[in-house]
């Protein structure tokens, strides 16, 4: 029996570079005028490519899907250079200020639009959504479970290893108090940690090849949503810059620094 084809949709996010200063703008939104592909999204992409490469006899497509402002197309392009087969970008002014709830509404519609548009030669595909363990700037880690709930898909979060079997994935994860090895049937949403693999860098050949791949843009209405369906449930009241930490006393060890630290801790009532 030929194994069913597999469509892997990897969510990639365009985020402000965490190596640089990140800030809120006057509208109380994170400034997204510049960005990079979220580092944490390179791991699920690498996992997708490894799954595909490990099953050369199976029809597997890796699609990168991003949601964000116009500039987020560069995250999709980067994913194509790294090795995704095709890419989609959901961009719409109504998505500005989307919270967790609204983001998962939009992503559900986008995933369904992507899987609906895909054609496979060897039969009806199963689908698998891979995400990073959290976004670089939102850090909630709540999107994978929420997306799975909306898609009616199984969810496994914080995967440290993934293996594709005929009709399921075997995933190792660490949720908190124990390490687990679980089997998950399709469709599934799996979030992948930064311990899962070592992401590859695009080489020149891959960068050239990416120019021939398709990047499809769609708006909210093109994935079947009206703006009022993505109204956020949560609103920001205020964002305040935290006063920067200032340097305290710095001493050079003259043989008694260990004692001096303990004296400092005692003075600060930290012992």
């Amino acid at each position: 029996m030929v194994n069913a084809p597999l469509h892997i949709i990897t969510l990639v996010k365009w985020v402000p570079d965490s190596q640089l200063e990140r800030r809120y703008n006057a509208d109380g939104r994170i400034d997204r005028s510049e960005g990079v592909l979220s580092e944490l999204d390179e791991y699920p992409l690498e996992a997708a490519l490894q799954i595909k490469e490990a099953a050369p006899d199976r029809e597997i497509r890796v699609t990168a899907l991003t949601m964000g402002p116009a500039g987020s197309s560069s995250a999709a392009k980067k994913a194509l250079q790294i090795g995704a087969d095709d890419a989609y970008q959901l961009t719409d002014d109504a998505l500005v200020g989307a919270d967790i709830w609204a983001t998962s509404v939009a992503l559900k519609a986008a995933v369904e639009a992507v899987t609906g548009a895909a054609e496979f030669e060897s039969g009806e595909p199963e689908y698998l959504v891979l995400t990073g363990m959290a976004s670089d700037e939102g850090e909630s880690g709540a999107i994978p479970a929420q997306l799975a709930e909306r898609l009616g898909a199984n969810a496994v979060t914080y995967a440290t290893g993934l293996t594709l079997e005929a009709e399921r994935m075997v995933v190792t994860r660490s949720g908190g108090t124990e390490a687990q090895k679980v089997a998950v049937g399709f469709p599934a949403v799996v979030s992948v940690t930064d311990q899962a693999n070592d992401p590859r860098y695009p080489n020149f050949k891959a960068i050239m090849a990416a120019k021939k791949k398709t990047l499809t843009r769609f708006t909210l209405s093109e994935v079947g949503l009206r703006p009022e369906q993505v109204n956020a449930k949560v609103r920001l009241v205020e964002a305040q810059v935290r006063p920067p930490r200032t340097a305290g006393e710095v001493i050079t060890d003259e043989g008694d620094a260990g004692i001096k630290i303990v004296e400092f801790l005692a003075k600060e009532r930290l012992l």
Binding site: S18, A155, K181, D253
Partner: protein, 321 residues
């Protein structure tokens, strides 16, 4: 005052400091109800805390990633008429509460460090560089409760103790929730090595080592044990295999916000700082006087950690007599 439903994904032989803190925070907001996902023996005696009214238990224990725990929560929310649902900001709890928010068609705020009585939630975001407040667009009520995941260590432990007075055993509601069939099947489970040290994310004091440790964490372990501290590391140290990956503090690892953070042999690049810069007090030890960590340390020592730390341990022991 609101009715608050607190969710514990697992309740062991005793309440953890983070679980005590959640009950304390919930008690400030109103009447406390508690739903427990996984348990071994009847956990009700542990929950005999003043202000805790009712406990909801599934007929059979539902350990993560069992999705049926969301059914339990849905019923518990309806029974308790909760306006607020509160859980820890850990992976398994976040998964359950994220699904619950979809079922209840309501908003989720993650990583709270404070919650006011009018349900405005304070968070530390963008690696501690901003503090935000947010709230539900519509006023929270039983029809649309606010779901919040809460960061441990946000309330002073002494205040937690004052807030938690012993009380009568709460009423128990055993709910007939069946484990899901198919979907996700657990093939193997291994208890993570239980350290005698406090969990990193919950520890009041954290001792962390980096490249400068040069492979041997023994001095840091001794210091951590002397201070009752959690032990962490920079990515350089975990990547080198000197300590387990779970110990990694930083942008892509654990974020800690302890009262006291002792950094040893860590340069303090931005990725690492992101995981610890909301700590109360930072003490840094580094050989390199230009290490960026000194820009944010309250007390810094330019010196060799292999000399400074053993001396600290010795001095701490001497003071203890």
């Amino acid at each position: 005052m609101s009715n608050v439903l607190v969710f514990f994904d697992v309740l062991g032989e005793a309440l953890s400091p983070a679980q005590k803190e959640l009950i304390a925070q919930a008690g400030v907001l109103g009447e406390v109800h508690i739903a427990v996902g996984a348990y071994q023996v009847d956990p009700t005696p542990l929950l005999a805390v003043s202000g805790v009214q009712e406990v909801y238990l599934p007929e059979v224990s539902l350990p993560a990633p069992e999705v049926a725990v969301v059914d339990l929560l849905e019923t518990a929310v309806a029974e308790s008429q909760a306006q607020v649902i509160l859980g820890s900001s850990t992976a398994d709890v976040t998964d359950a509460l994220a699904r619950l928010a979809v079922r209840l068609d309501t908003g989720l705020i993650s990583g709270a460090v404070a919650i006011s009585t009018d349900l405005v939630v304070t968070k530390s975001v963008l690696a501690g560089s901003y503090t935000t407040t947010s709230e539900l667009n519509a006023a929270p009520g039983p029809a649309q409760p606010l779901i919040i995941t809460y960061k441990p260590n946000s309330i002073d432990p002494q205040r937690v103790e004052t807030l938690l007075a012993p009380g009568e055993q709460p009423e128990v509601n055993v709910l007939s929730v069946r484990p899901s069939v198919g979907g996700v099947e657990i093939l193997e489970r291994t208890a993570l090595e239980v350290s005698a040290r406090p969990a990193l994310a919950e520890a009041r004091v954290v001792v962390a080592g980096g490249r400068g440790v040069e492979g041997d964490f023994t001095p840091l372990e001794e210091l951590a044990d002397e201070l009752g501290a959690g032990l962490g590391a920079s990515r350089a140290a975990t990547d080198a295999g000197w300590i387990e990956h779970a110990a990694q503090i930083g942008q892509t690892g654990v974020t800690v916000s302890p009262q006291l953070y002792i950094s040893a042999g860590i340069s303090g690049a931005i990725q690492q700082r992101a995981g610890m810069q909301t700590a109360g007090t930072i003490v840094a030890i580094n050989k390199d006087e230009d290490a960026p960590v000194f820009e944010i340390a309250d007390f810094g020592v330019v010196g060799d950690l292999h000399e400074v730390i053993p001396q600290m341990v010795e001095e701490l022991r001497r003071r203890k007599g």
